[in-house]
Symmetry: C2
Subunit: 553 residues, 2 copies
């Protein structure tokens, strides 16, 4: 871990940079572990992210706290287990509820400590005014209230047609992706893949909050220029507040699958369309890579690179529902699940607590502080970001029950230490949110007490995680996920340390006993929509507008 070197750097930095560090979090949506160059994808290459990962610390056992979007983000923002927070899986475009108002967020704490705070992109913590970022600790926000597959966005045409002459070179530069005597056809998802409806939907709104105002920029939203707009807004934030401590939470819309009216269920800026070997998914990821490259260049231009911790991680594993428009779980195929569900297909991505749903591609980059070329296999969690950020900022810890650990900061700085000897995973949606542990990572082991299919394998959301879809295991199904990351070979009793099962049973009982399901007071059904600046009883289609002020709470 190059401890001596790092310690020297830390000492030098402490003298040179007494101000709290900037913290920039790149949070990608539904990005699978195996979708990046540095995590082994053979045709989608991500040169900027690969270079940042190589220049910092790769975190190979980073877990999300929950395998779906809203709950994963609630855990990131609060440092707490989602059932404790009261976030029922996913908020949809017709939900009245949001992140409960008595929760404090990482942005609340950092802003109170003197930081300027920015939220970009997918929010997904409630769309009513009281739940939007401005009221949850963020000085500025430009983004979407929910997922790009829920509200209906659209993809405008690029003129002239993009990518026409660039099909054999990826956007990242310097990457040949294979010539061919056989031409590539227009691509479409496999015909066998069918949309599982989320019920009535409405045009996707785009929202900006800044200088006391809150407006719907457009409804519906054009997805094509979106990421570039977000970068421009991010850059302005960095420039405006370069002299102050900054927290930027960049929650990409990429690479979540979009609504059926978007070709290929993916989108990208005109500069990226048709530029990668992998097709629409690769183009979207190339745009994420571009954003990271722009960000690094801007941090350097502002002389902030050595005072900025950059974290990159996904919110949960890929949805396997939409064929080639979705991502890859990488090594985490959950091979044993194929036998369990009898389909011959594992479905261990988003929505499941098999590794494919919860093990995230992740790295930390911080020039002069995080050792270049380092790796850590320590078990860390998205819930650790809040306590680690407060520690790095020199701010008091959050009070009350915090499930994340500040020791993530020590790990990043090469000071050793362990974040989680026992990390529980809960699951379920809406009325089926469970306070009984589905699975846990314990040292090199992973225990499953409840298993079920991910999105695409079950009949989510209406009846997934009903009892009939779940398998219960007593004693737990056990894997050595360091030797067997594919969860292919359940361990036999004679392969276990003698006390392991008893230790796991006790740890689970203690954690479950302390896990109180926050009463979900707001309704997360299909009852409220944000429609051109006013709420309406759903369904309310045909919301078409631009620059409409939103009420402030």
């Amino acid at each position: 871990m190059q401890t001596l070197l790092t310690s020297a750097l830390v000492a030098a930095a402490a003298l040179a940079a007494p101000r709290p560090p900037n913290i920039v979090l790149l949070f990608v949506d539904d990005l699978g572990y195996g979708d990046l160059g540095f995590t082994g994808h053979p045709s989608t290459l991500t040169p900027a992210l690969d270079e940042l990962a190589a220049g910092g610390m790769r975190l190979t056992s980073w877990y999300t706290a929950y395998p779906v979007c809203s709950a994963s983000r609630a855990a990131l923002l609060t440092g707490r287990q989602p059932p404790r927070v009261g976030m029922p899986g996913v908020i949809n475009s017709l939900s009245a509820g949001g992140l409960p108002l008595n929760e404090t967020t990482i942005a609340d704490h950092l802003r109170a400590g003197g930081y300027k705070t920015l939220a970009i992109g997918k929010w997904h913590q409630g769309q009513q005014p009281q739940y939007l970022p401005r009221e949850r600790g963020f000085d500025r926000f430009l983004g979407l209230p929910f997922s790009v597959d829920d509200g209906e966005g659209f993809a405008s045409n690029c003129t002239p047609p993009a990518g026409a002459a660039a099909a054999s070179v990826s956007a990242g530069g310097g990457v040949a992706v294979g010539s061919s005597a056989f031409t590539a056809p227009p691509r479409a998802p496999p015909a066998a893949v069918q949309r599982v409806g989320l019920g009535p939907s409405l045009p996707l709104p785009s929202i900006r909050q800044d200088n006391g105002s809150s407006v719907i920029v457009a409804q519906p939203t054009d997805l094509v220029p979106l990421t570039e707009q977000w970068w421009n807004f991010t850059r302005q934030f960095l420039r405006d507040f370069a002299a102050e401590p900054l927290f930027a939470y960049v929650a990409f819309g990429h690479v979540h699958t979009a609504t059926p009216n978007v070709p290929g269920r993916q989108y990208a800026g005109c500069a990226f369309q048709g530029t990668t070997a992998r097709g629409a998914f690769g183009d979207a990821l190339a745009e994420v890579d571009w954003f990271a490259a722009q960000l690094l260049a801007e941090l350097r231009a502002l002389a902030l690179e050595e005072n900025t911790l950059l974290l990159f991680v996904s919110d949960n594993g890929p949805s396997l529902r939409w064929g080639l428009s979705a991502g890859s779980v990488g090594p985490f195929v959950g091979a044993a699940a194929a036998f369990e569900n009898g389909t011959g297909y594992t479905n261990t991505g988003k929505g499941s607590t098999w590794e494919g749903g919860i093990r995230m591609p992740a790295f930390a980059y911080w020039k002069g502080r995080v050792a270049p070329g380092s790796h850590s296999g320590e078990v860390v969690s998205t819930m650790d970001v809040l306590p680690a950020a407060l520690k790095l900022a020199g701010l008091p810890p959050k009070r009350g029950v915090v499930d994340g650990r500040a020791s993530l900061a020590d790990i990043l700085l090469g000071r050793g230490g362990s974040a989680h000897n026992f990390l529980p995973f809960y699951n379920g949606y809406y009325g089926n949110v469970s306070t009984e542990m589905y699975a846990a990572r314990a040292g090199r082991y992973k225990a499953h007490w409840i298993t079920g299919p991910g999105l695409g394998g079950g009949r989510w959301p209406t009846d997934a995680h009903a009892a009939a879809e779940l398998w219960r295991h007593d004693p737990p199904l056990l894997f050595d996920v360091q030797a067997d990351p594919s969860e292919m070979f359940p361990l036999a009793p004679d392969q276990l340390p003698p006390t392991l099962l008893a230790e796991l049973r006790d740890a689970k009982a203690a954690a479950d006993e302390g896990m109180t399901l926050r009463a979900i007071t707001a309704d997360f059904g299909f009852e409220w929509a944000l429609c051109c600046g006013v709420g309406c009883a759903a369904p309310c289609d045909n919301c078409t507008c631009a620059n409409v002020p939103l009420p402030l709470p």
Copy 2:
């Protein structure tokens, strides 16, 4: 591809280094695509190989010519398709046959062109004296005549017990692999995995050929110090002939699974035992990584780094038969195969022409010539090594039918070009070797006409690839392996370019018509064993000896 930069480097190098380049080929046994750090494995890290890969060109569409050992190596040595060569899959420890004597090898050609030639490690091209490396173009040889799972080797004890205090740091240095309150137990393959017998076996011999002599160094072979011995022999070769053009073919015994008498079916030097998170497999791979690090250091010490092309590749995908002692196919899970074979498990590794059996982890490193940080997705083959090496050496091309392409050299040097617009894959063992194509890569597409399970999925070797185990596809099963490397979504007719099926049919017919199965004149049954320097009619157990001269042909 940084063409301008590379061209300038090439021009400079041409002035500075008129002598033919050294060529060093690191050829790993049964290493899966997903087993390395730079190909995405989360717990087994390979820092030296990762650094070499990052300092050179990663080749993400490198295919072996055949999915099992002897045939893959015959294709490497001859540049020709294995059925054309007459190599029936795998030579076992009781086979009288070998690579047919009228074939010329890459070593024959390079030696004739003034190179000094070295073979290290697993030979697997015949064990009778006329088939051993000395007669096939190699000046020196230290290694094994066949696989470590065929002849019975053994693993000596390390004193003091290795790895006792090093369990949380990998051998490569600087890599934390996760601490744990839960201790790791001794590991064993899952009880459900059973040995599929290869018939009678005998003690594994180790052979050295040098200065006109040929001796059995030891029978049986102690596997523990083996890789270190091989490195010492390689280093001596480099030092002895540093002033001359060199060809070194380093065919690791790692990470092929060993015989049941070796704990965990893997082995490693004492310095590596118990040092990695992944267990015995990770320890073995750490030793490969160490060899690569030693090699680079020695090339630098001898001032040969800028005159040496270093190629790294595997011989075929991992055997999935022996549980955790075997490797990982990475993204190439062949997900559609799970539905086909009805087992719920894909078995697409070694022995199959699904990507997991034939797509290899690969890179090229050549300081000043191969652009650092470059990638190529061009379709290349192990068969290309011979013609590319002759081109780089400035030697005349091999005459007769050569299936490999010298354009691999252009790709490595950043001069562009395509190696294979249509690359066929054949398969089968012994009497079932097929001259009908199983599969082919064509541009971004992969076509399967015949599919079957890999080793561990079928009843290999006695009756695998009999008709009952194979599925035939007409029209071929088609995948876009750039967008869908997991071979998860077969393409529907409306997803194909209009002429693709006709083009594929014509290309297959032409290739199959030109594919003559070389009469397999030597017997590859269970009839001849190398037993302490003499051949004996098999079975002949209890061969125990050291330093016994072998007859020269």
